[in-house]
Symmetry: C2
């Protein structure tokens, strides 16, 4: 953490250290929320625009996040954790094709809330970072793939890791296609489901 | 073009301007060739490493390419143009499934020559740049998709642009999976062919 002075805050003279820490927490939250909102609308949203929307100065922002990449990483991490929290409360027992289809549609809707953030993250973070933030969602997909491969519903003549990567690639391709207006946001979850289930048969 | 002095060259006093231009051309070629070779092995190869391998100084390199992104864009453009030149000499008439399968395997082999460059480009260039450099290869794929959709070999209940994006996503996912050693380079072309043809049926 840097010693950059918070530009907003209510620190009293009585407890300046605690006040500064509270200011810092509020600033970090304001920055992350502004970044989440702006990157959802425009994957190329700048650090300047984000600082402005958060009501903090550039120096304060850079005091908390040393680069745009660090900020995008934090926003992507939180988005994934939020998605994961929602999905962890769902039941994906039963028929593997049906369960995977449902998981894909839910993942789409949860991801779609974050709009262009997927495009921003893919264009900003190196591939291994993108991979890392997807480890928990990938574990859930892998479990369903194992069940479906054992039941003969998905091809088991290709490596399961290839099927995991394929599903992630299809979800991201759909986000990018919606951003380019090639497909509509309404059609996307159905297209993802149909395409993934067809691809897994091969 | 900057007026950065070339660090290698044979310019004579008799024709300094022409000599400088020839030096600049040689330097650009040396830089692009070194970048192509280094990025094929390591998607995170640095500008310093590339300048060193090209036998030029950092200042000379930045005189020709104002950022690492500009250099990666040039290398990716050339790789795509090379691939496109080879494919334009091929005959993709006849059965659309067979022709698309052949096009995919050829594209894989041509792309694989460039190793981790695909990973480097995807991690460096914004999505719309990645899209732009793929316009000509996409046109060839679109032609085969139209033929196969008309013949009832590929689903025509999904937008053709979605199928084009899907094929590009599957090819790039395969490159990334080979880089992560999840699948072998030998298995990749067959996996790409099988997966794409299965996905297009859905």
């Amino acid at each position: 953490m840097s010693d950059t002075r918070a530009t907003r805050g209510t620190a009293s003279d009585a407890a300046p250290a605690a006040g500064k820490r509270a200011d810092a927490r509020r600033n970090v939250e304001a920055i992350v929320q502004a970044a989440t909102r702006l990157l959802a609308a425009d994957p190329d949203a700048s650090v300047n625009d984000i600082a402005k929307a958060a009501g903090v100065g550039r120096v304060t922002l850079y005091g908390h996040f040393d680069s745009r990449t660090t900020l995008v990483r934090e926003v992507a991490d939180r988005a994934i954790r939020h998605t994961d929290l929602v999905l962890s409360g769902e039941n994906f027992d039963g028929d593997a094709r049906e369960a995977l289809g449902r998981l894909l549609e839910m993942t789409w809707h949860l991801t779609h809330e974050f709009g262009a953030l997927v495009v921003a993250a893919t264009g900003t973070l190196p591939p291994e970072e993108i991979r890392r933030v997807h480890e928990e969602p990938a574990a859930r997909v892998r479990m369903l793939l194992e069940r479906g491969r054992a039941a003969g519903q998905f091809s088991d003549s290709v490596p399961i890791e290839w099927q995991v990567s394929l599903i992630q690639a299809i979800l991201h391709a759909a986000s990018a296609s919606v951003q380019r207006s090639e497909i509509t946001a309404d059609d996307a979850p159905g297209l993802v489901r149909t395409t993934v289930l067809a691809a897994l048969a091969g």
